[in-house]
């Protein structure tokens, strides 16, 4: 056990810092904009800025540190990747719009794709030339993803796709999407799925924004009407889409969970600042034991998060597979942030529900965080689903009693 850098890691870190200093501006430690989760609907200029930063990193060999060199990666280690992310977080960089591509689609294509498919999609994904989105959820299929009904029918060398996807983050600026469809309605639900890569500029793809509780619209509904996808864009076998989807979902939990270890000092620093300005019944926050103890508790839990992410990555870097353990980070983090944001708002008393940059305290950041958190608890597998995963796959408890087992998909009750 050694929480410090080894000499090689320290050298690597110094190299990273040197490059970042030369190519980016250091963030003011008090600047909390990094905590912002949902911006206004992304403008084309913002997307260009994100792509620009990704390209700069790719040119210097810092994009996708763990990916093989053949696809433009660095062929580096997980630890090097962590070091880079830790340092990059200290600089002002545009938001990461590449997570679905690099964190989910990329690893899925790397696992299930042919050599040709990898060469076709991975290098441009890595360079940030194009953005990717995930067309999984549907109006009747979220937690129960395998209940999806978007239909794929083979037609010569093409497939014809009809259906509706929903909650598709970033569909409005994505060129490629990963798409799960049902190619067979007569077999049990997990058996009839087929997985594709879809060109979002294909004819018949229509993207409509959906407004969120934050007021912005970062996700969409996507209508697919007679969309043609070449068979060459199929990942893995026809009917094997569920296995491919599981690879994506596993990586999704990893990237959501793994990206959450950051920000403890910043968040708790902000909370302390509130405690130095806000009064409860005439007592300054920091003079109240109840307030101090809450802040300490939150610090301790944030620290657990950061250290658990590190511990999981340590295990992975020794050759483990991304396991269901990352569910623990996801399940613990959502509720923790929700509690922290609610507590911070409570400290603000009557100003607690002001919302906007001119809010009395913190420029509205706590309210923005508070309104954004429900997404963490729902997206990428809701808390309840994560608890099932922990219970069943990590601890070996019995699976749910199921009424849809072994029944042809078309006969399963729904509503």
């Amino acid at each position: 056990m050694d929480f410090n850098d080894s000499p090689t890691e320290a050298k690597f870190r110094a190299e990273v810092v040197e490059w970042l200093d030369a190519n980016a501006t250091k963030r003011d430690p008090d600047d909390t904009s990094a905590l912002s989760m949902f911006s206004e609907r992304e403008s084309p200029e913002m997307i260009e800025e994100c792509k620009g930063w990704q390209r700069t990193k790719a040119d210097a060999g810092w994009a996708c540190i763990t990916w093989p060199k053949t696809f433009g990666g660095r062929g580096g280690t997980l630890m090097e990747n962590i070091i880079f992310s830790q340092e990059e977080a200290k600089y002002l960089t545009p938001p990461n719009i590449f997570m679905i591509g690099l964190g989910m689609a990329g690893p899925t294509i790397a696992t299930h794709g042919t050599e040709e498919q990898k060469q076709q999609w991975l290098p441009s994904m890595l360079r940030g030339d194009v953005v990717w989105c995930q067309l999984f959820s549907e109006p009747a299929a979220g937690s129960d993803l395998a209940g999806l009904r978007t239909k794929a029918v083979k037609d010569g060398d093409d497939w014809i796709i009809n259906g509706q996807k929903v909650w598709t983050s970033g569909a409005h600026y994505s060129r490629w999407g990963i798409l799960v469809t049902r190619s067979d309605f007569d077999v049990p639900k997990h058996k009839g799925l087929t997985y594709f890569v879809i060109d979002m500029e294909s004819e018949g793809v229509e993207v409509r924004p959906i407004k969120q509780i934050t007021g912005g619209a970062n996700f969409n509904e996507v209508f697919l009407t007679d969309v043609r996808i070449p068979d060459a864009n199929r990942l893995d076998r026809e009917g094997n889409g569920w296995a491919v989807s599981l690879t994506t979902l596993m990586n999704e939990r990893m990237s959501i969970g793994g990206g959450m270890g950051m920000g403890a000092d910043m968040l708790i620093g902000e909370l302390n600042r509130l405690a130095e300005t806000c009064y409860i019944d005439g007592v300054l926050g920091k003079d109240s034991a109840a307030v101090r103890q809450k802040i300490s508790e939150y610090y301790s839990r944030m620290k657990s998060m950061e250290l658990t992410v590190n511990r999981t990555l340590s295990a992975l870097s020794k050759g483990g597979m991304p396991g269901s353990e990352s569910s623990i980070i996801k399940v613990a983090m959502g509720i923790l942030l929700q509690e922290i944001a609610a507590f911070a708002m409570e400290l603000q008393g009557g100003a607690g529900f002001e919302f906007g940059e001119d809010s009395t305290y913190g420029g509205g950041m706590w309210q923005e965080l508070y309104l954004g958190i429900p997404a963490i608890r729902i997206a990428g597998g809701a808390d309840e689903i994560q608890r099932n995963i922990i219970g069943e796959r990590v601890l070996g408890l019995p699976t749910e009693a199921r009424v849809d087992k072994g029944i042809p998909f078309k006969d399963i009750p729904n509503g």
Partner: protein, 369 residues
Amino acid sequence: MNFQFDEDQDLLRDAAQKLLGDKATLEAAHKHMDKASDYDKELWSTMAENGWQGIAIPEEFGGAGMSYLDLSVLAEELGYHYAHTPFSASIFGAAEAIIVAGSSEQKSTLLPKIANGETIGTLAVFEQSGRHDYAGITTKAVGGKLSGIKLPVSDGLCADIAIVAAQADKGLSLYVVDLTQAGVERAELRTMELTRKQATLTLNNAQGELLGEEGQGEALLDNILNRTAILTAFEQLGGAQRCLDMAKDYSLERYCFGRQIGSYQAIKHRIADMYVKVEMARSNCYFGAWALTSSEADIPEAAAVSRIAVCDAYSFAAQENIQIHGGIGFTWDANPHLFLKRMKMQEFSLGSANLWKEKLYKALANKAA
């Protein structure tokens, strides 16, 4: 960077699991509850033969000179297996106090015997008020003679020496006190935890030998209790893990309405929550072990976050373990209550989570300054 134990420590864990799995059984714990006997002497000697007591004590003072990481591994397994020995009092408490505050002469005379299990030590810091702040300490030291009442003193009935905190001319100070002398009276203090006997020590002009400088008691105790807290946190972690395992096993065994109870989400999700809390606490404890081993400056923060997280995890796991066992969980002859009671003992003997939250608040303010 590496946030896990290494292979040698994994091997040590295997060996500890094997030994304690054979000797520190819950059946044995039940037998000890009914007896006045103070500890499992056979297990204590076996531990000594394996060099456990001295594992982190430097070689020059008779120990094995291995690291606190190794000691942490043992601590976790001791908590998991419910060992009925004065290991915590003697090693996490007294030995740490001597390592932190002792002169080299004191270390040379006291540590080798603690390391080989011949001497049992304990801490006698707090008093009847139950206060964990030092202002609650009223025991007096006049010319090296100590008078006052100390409780609870863990394993105080069987210990040979105690590290006693007392108010001297120059302020709070620490003393090594031989508990076999005439000026010391000991009586059993009744607590809910019957396998780790607590004592009340009444000191009546008892002879004490100054440990560390006179008047430096507060700073020394801060450091000692931080170290004791980290090692104890591993013991608590082991206990919490055991509760989780027991709950899981029972939920697979027990059927209701034609299904294993573990297939109901109300149970499954609660066990998942136990697991999450235990893993979170585990991460903080590892931070503690690493700080003890390699980063002195991080000890105050690491001790507090270990303690806060593990108290939370253990109380949740111990309480819900009983709930998941249903009626049988409320019976004396079943095992869950052993852990509920030990959990409370470990929580209160070093100060509850709220106290450590205050400590953390101060530690973070110091770090920021």
